[in-house]
Symmetry: D2
């Protein structure tokens, strides 16, 4: 043993580095070759934005490419537990989206499998040699934003602006999907040099943290050793910046609470009403007064309150949209538990009916430090990043945390990266756009890290 250790340190280490650098080089060449295609795909997807659970066109587009590349592609029920889907639009909206997708060229066979909003897909490839399972997650959904239509907004000017009124890729998921397809092709090109299994997950409904719970609940990451994910921009401010160790994912729960009262004329018989508007106001104030938690950060926000039927009518209905967060899943559970009790009591206080729906949730968590270190090593080796941020506090919620939590609980490792990109405007802004050079940076980093992970043990076992 001691000999082996010494041997590896002195002799094998440099040799291993050579192998890795050769793989990096091959990745880089491939990504550069696909550069134009990646951009084209991103722009094509940008023009057809699809909000959460309606990604029929996007998913079918990806499914077709991945199948052609040689991946085993699964859709719908196979990769997604429908019981755990949250915040699903009404049936009519789903049907119309499916119809539009087919009209815009989506393969009907794929669309049918995704009926009911089950728009998740997974592409799997098992290499000849045994090795770890590495999964990568890409999110596909767009935002409920009206895209700017002015000459100073590149997507509009260059003709790839949203073709769907009220929907826009304003968070870069078009880029994520395009990068996913490029990574798929690059890794396939290295298939003779890799050992283990790749799982490429294309997830719906990340916005509102609705999709990951259903996908992880299907068990698709239960055998995963390394889980990877990435996002453009966010806390990274320019192209060339990258964060490999992301911590502080806030666990979160999203609820819609509907109070149903009884209207009455506010002058003639106010006592005959049941005041849902007051119940909602009372709930709101007391929700924000939930006690801090001494174990770490917590959050509560009622972000929307719409109530009442008219100035002279006792407010007979009210809808709250709220969310809780916590530095850990446990803290968020405390917050969510308090919130639900308060809302119920407010309804009881004003003798109004109540409907509560959970419409989104994410776990808390942080990257596995060892994997973060590995990712950082690769990022340094690639020599394309000019600013490698050591540790970034996420301070918000991403349902990637569900994969992270599930994989880490079973002993695997997970890492999330933030890949910098010059932005035209902030996320969710109608002028959002990003420097497409960053597409390559992300594709290279994800491909190289995956290649490293799928050769690590292989090499060590030599």
């Amino acid at each position: 043993m001691y000999f082996m250790k010494t041997f590896i340190e002195l002799i094998w280490q440099p040799w291993k580095e050579v192998i890795e650098m050769v793989l990096d080089e091959k990745v880089a060449v491939q990504v550069d070759k696909l550069k134009k295609l990646t951009i084209e795909r991103r722009r094509f997807l940008h023009a057809y934005p699809e909000p959460g659970w309606t990604e029929f066109h996007t998913a079918a587009f990806a499914a077709k490419i991945l199948t052609n590349l040689g991946y085993a592609v699964s859709l719908g029920d196979a990769v997604l537990n429908p019981e755990k889907m949250m915040g699903v639009p009404e049936e009519a909206i789903l049907k119309e989206a499916a119809r539009q997708a087919i009209k815009n060229g989506a393969k009907a066979e794929f669309v049918d499998q995704m009926a009911g909003g089950k728009t998740g897909i997974m592409a799997v490839f098992k290499f000849a040699l045994p090795g770890p399972v590495v999964a990568l997650r890409f999110d596909m959904d767009s935002n409920d934003v009206c895209e700017a239509q002015t000459e100073d907004h590149r997507p509009y000017k260059c003709g790839f602006g949203s073709k769907k009124n009220g929907a826009m890729h304003a968070c870069g998921h078009d880029g994520h999907t395009a990068v996913g397809l490029t990574v798929a092709q690059v890794l396939m090109s290295l298939k003779d040099e890799l050992a283990g299994t790749i799982k490429l997950i294309f997830q719906p409904a990340e916005e509102g943290v609705r999709g990951a719970r259903a996908m992880t609940a299907s068990g698709i990451v239960d055998d995963v050793d390394y889980m990877l994910g990435a996002h453009f921009g966010f806390k990274m401010k320019h192209t060339g910046q990258v964060a490999c160790d992301v911590t502080g994912f806030l666990a979160t729960s999203k609820y819609d609470a509907e109070f149903i009262g009884i209207p009455a004329h506010a002058g003639a018989a106010p006592e005959a009403g049941r005041n849902a508007l007051l119940a909602a106001a009372c709930a709101t104030l007391n929700l924000h007064a939930i006690s801090r938690h001494s174990d770490g950060a917590s959050r509560i926000n009622v972000g929307s309150l719409v109530a009442g039927s008219g100035r002279n009518i006792i407010g007979d209905k009210a809808v709250l949209k709220l969310e809780t967060r916590g530095a850990t899943s446990k803290i968020n559970q405390y917050m969510a538990g308090e919130a639900l009790r308060i809302i119920k009591a407010a309804a009881a206080m004003y003798d109004v009916k109540l409907k509560i729906r959970e419409v989104g949730s994410a776990a808390g968590g942080s990257n596995t430090p060892e994997l973060s270190k590995k990712v950082q090593m690769v990022a340094e080796r690639l020599a394309i990043f000019d600013d490698i941020v050591p540790t970034a506090d996420f301070g918000a919620s991403e349902d990637f945390s569900y994969y992270m939590e599930r994989v880490q609980k079973k002993g695997g490792q997970a890492a999330y990266m933030m890949v910098g990109a010059d932005l035209a405007a902030g996320h969710h802004d109608s002028y959002f756009d990003f420097d497409e050079t960053a597409l390559d940076y992300a594709a290279k980093l994800l491909s190289s890290v995956t290649a490293q992970l799928l050769t690590d043990k292989f090499i060590e076992k030599v």
Copy 2:
């Protein structure tokens, strides 16, 4: 003196009654003759509903008829103080309404005089003999209701349903205006038998109690001795019922309060926001906690609360629609004063900006008892009503109270009547419709009361 009194009681009284009965009879004949025309006009107006301050078509229609009847008609600035107009729609809406009115046949000359929403008119006729000034008020505006379009709704079935989406005469003001035009014609037909002056006021924007303040502020009722008004239905439940002594008009103030905060990400930097949503919830709760007043009834209602920009964003904006009421104008002033202070403090508490607009108001008050008695006497004499309710508590607000208050303060008398009508559905309901027989009942009562008032002194002076 004593002799005179005895003479009047014993000799003159019966003779006076004969004169009055003859007048009543003439009124009845005229109204019956105009029956078909009254209904036609009501239906014509029903098809062209115009919400408050946009009654260009309605007012021009009335102005033309009144001019033709021989009345001196004034419009716009002449009858309405623009500074006291409340809850006026945006310029673009007014312009579009004016344009549509002209397109639908309104005389451009009239419409131009009413530019900016000054859609009030007054028709005056001075009889040859001197006598008191009697004013009658008719309101013209429609509601923001989508009219039912089913076969069981007569206006739809008979082809006079609303031609304007989102607007409907669901409170009977179409009938009020039609009755006003019939009364105008009837009184003109009696011109040789009456003494004094008639003022027929056609008022915009009664809904939301917005119009009367501006009309009374112009001074048009400052010389009025008797002020009359009427409403179909309300607390009268069937055709043939009538209330001649209406009390308990609640004084009221209507406000829109807009809180303007600063958005911030609810997870990443909640402290950076300025929470307008919480300010609004806090204001709402504390508004409803304004102390009761020991002098009489008071009311407060926040009837609408719309706040926030999204679940995960600190609520950066909020709009409250509220109203206060009081059994007297003084109690309402107390309520409104408290409300304004609370709203301002809530904005200060959450460090958000505030815009408050008064969008409606009415005074408190009750009929002048003597005039009510006279009206009831006439109602009994007419022998068309099967249920004459002695006193009815209004228990709500009507901006007729502004005329009432102004006339009573100057020593005049005022009376408001509720004229029963079988209703297809409640006021402001999309299926609202009323028994058109009631049009005649109202026209006869108002004409006869006016004729009585314009002969009373004349007769006494004989």
Copy 3:
């Protein structure tokens, strides 16, 4: 019949008036004779104030005198339903008060019968001739006020100031009791001229409206035809003023609500606490926001809120003292129902325990108009009052309303009078004192009214 009516009107009426005047005169002579004694008794009682349910000394004092006068006196369980007693002090306080009473001269036999705070007494006398049952109620309890001890306060200066620290007759009940004893003696002196039954009720715990419910619940007024009560001062501002028609007794309910939470260090583990202080604040705000009632006046007041254990401890306990009122018992029931639901929901909202106790209540109501008229007639006849106010709105609560409600429900009549007295300071003030001349005015009015009622039918039947 017609003859009889005419006969009575023409012949009998004047004769009846003579009889009444003779009785009035006899009453006046008696009262004047007892003048000094009445004042002495009032001062004696003033020096031994006893708060609600501890009137052992006062009641025993009255019981002894009444027994000596020839009345049948009942105490304790015989006149008071213990299950309906509200706001009873702790056992130890009752025992100490009983002990003190005996020490100060109360007959132990009486005190024993009143054990547990059952300090109500009733003195009954049935006259030889049959006739109506007339009941008079006198309240005996003192206030929780520290009496002023300065030379400008007559009770102190004249040596009859309170001998008990923290207790004071600051609402004139000492005078009420003294008047009651004088009335007892006067009526007894007229026993040969009266027909029917007198019931003299000496009630404990009027302050906080706690005593009447238990006394009426025992059934003692169920056979009463005429129920009388009186209060010094209140809305009457000087000696010589009197109000015979009192209306607008507000029904009321008094509650103590105790929230029991769990303390926790506010810095180290705030989430471990259960915040009773916040529950109480939340309840308070929402209680005051209970909707007005369109049927008439309503009131809500949280008059005391004591909460928390220390600045840096999550508020683990809170006590609210509140009351609701209504123009009618029904409106008060609405208010109380809303209040209880809100308090329970506030406890549920903050997950704290709750104890609610009803500690007082009174019914709503007004004098029976016929009886008021009779009282006023007597008042006029006596010619001692210089200002007879026609109708006075009480606008507050008095548990005399329980007798009123019970008697009126069974077809009897009830009247409450306010007897003016020059006051040294307002009710419940530590400088409260009243002009003792008013004692005679009250004694004369009550005696004469009773005499009138106990001769009315008798006379008519002659």
Copy 4:
């Protein structure tokens, strides 16, 4: 240079360690010799507890001993800026405490210098050789707790229980002061071997974090290089445990807010009142709703709310006792700023007057890591502790943070230690007592660390 470094590492280091061990040994011998005296003094102080700003007896006791030991002792204005004193009791209480102190043996000369509650003292000794300035802080005040008087409470059983009703040393400051006097004597005994200056600070009013601000504001620690402080127990659970690196002092502000309204009868004229009780309830709810801060932990607590004058009176007065906290002084400033604005707006909302007083505050902060390491090294060397906890999160507030902040800002270092002690009951409990063995542990650690610091540079300069 290189040579020197090598020399120190190889040759000098062991030698230095020998010197240090000799000093440790001398300290230990001294402390052991004083063991009985330390306990006696602690018990003596325990029997005469003095709450914040009334430590006349304690301070005079210490001043006398320190003067006798040869220290230059300063009191009152010399060591304490009176303008920065917070939460000072009323003049009468201070005077009575001073009187009692003299009666119990305090030197009048000292007591006079401390008039007005300026009960801080500082003892300074400058050694012959130049060197750093080391300050130690000991707090002297007792708690507002009634000490248990049962046989199972040692202070009572052994006759040193509190002689002052309502006051008790329930946080161990009696021990702190006794340790301070022992340390003073030990260090003086080493005067020929130390270089630099010692400042022994005996601080009043640590409870409620009131005293340190005034002492630091006088400038007494502005020249300090090393600042030391210690507390018994807290997060250390048994004798022998010690924490040398304490982090996470929460910055805090304490406020009393008094709302002054206008009373009114809740039934007869509620609108005439100005409701301070509701203002306080509203403030409380909204205070707890202050937004979390994304930079770190924050806290808000209204720990006491006392409001109202009686059930049937509009609540005319209210007092809130509250505190804010923050992981950093900046976060606490944010919390305090929000809190003050909310309280002011609540007063404005209810049109009531407001008085706010700041009654306590502490800065945020953590030990200087280098100094913590040095302390830990000493703790290990002493070999008396069986559990040396590496880092302890304080998670609460201690106004030692003011010394810490001031010294660290000027480039000095600060360290706070928690010295374990078996406790009879928790801090602030009426049964609080601690294992007196811990007195020696604390005295040895503080003396040895000070000795080390006062020889470090000296040795290095050899």
